[in-house]
Amino acid sequence: MKVTVLFFASLREQVGRPREELELPANVATVGALRDHLRARGGAWDSVFAPNKPVRAAVNQDMVQPAAAIKNGDEVAFFPPVTGG
């Protein structure tokens, strides 16, 4: 399954890219699993997605919890807690 992954703000700076197109293995079917999958890349990825880091996620531009499912073609975004207003 193929998804688009977006990164914003400090996450974007730390992983060094705003987006990537990603082919996922069959066992990566939730937002939480995708987070672990990215973390396994090591280095900055390991630090950004460490379990104690407050990372937020959205699927198709809707804020979701880690258990949320991912489908082929989804847009998945990771970002720090928001600070607008």
Binding site: A9, D62, P80
Partner: protein, 141 residues
Amino acid sequence: MKVAIQREDFDLGAETRAISKNPKIGAVASFVGLVRDVRMSLEHYPGMTESALRKIVDEAASRWQVMDCTVIHRYGDLEPNDQIVMVAVASAHRGDAFQACEFIMDYLKTQAPFWKKEHRAGGATWVEARASDDEAADRWK
């Protein structure tokens, strides 16, 4: 119900007048958030930002009598004293207008995908989210 994400400044007076034309409207409560001492830039998530704000406005309109509403949030580079965000809610009565306006601001603070980066002499740093904002949003649950 108007939601706008823009670089440009806004005029609170013109925006509130624009939502006050219905003669059933007796009250407009509004809020403006301003940059304090520090230069900053605001990043957002184009597409999601507008839909997140629309959801917050719809939720407010389901809880209180909201006859019209305008939310404008700026992004890009901002200077001290610049306006960042405005929310204005028009209703028949002031209680509804105040509650809906404060609700929208509290939810916007925790749900709308904006991120502030402050530019100080020592360098740039991303603003950390505040627990008090989560608490303010939790009041409405």
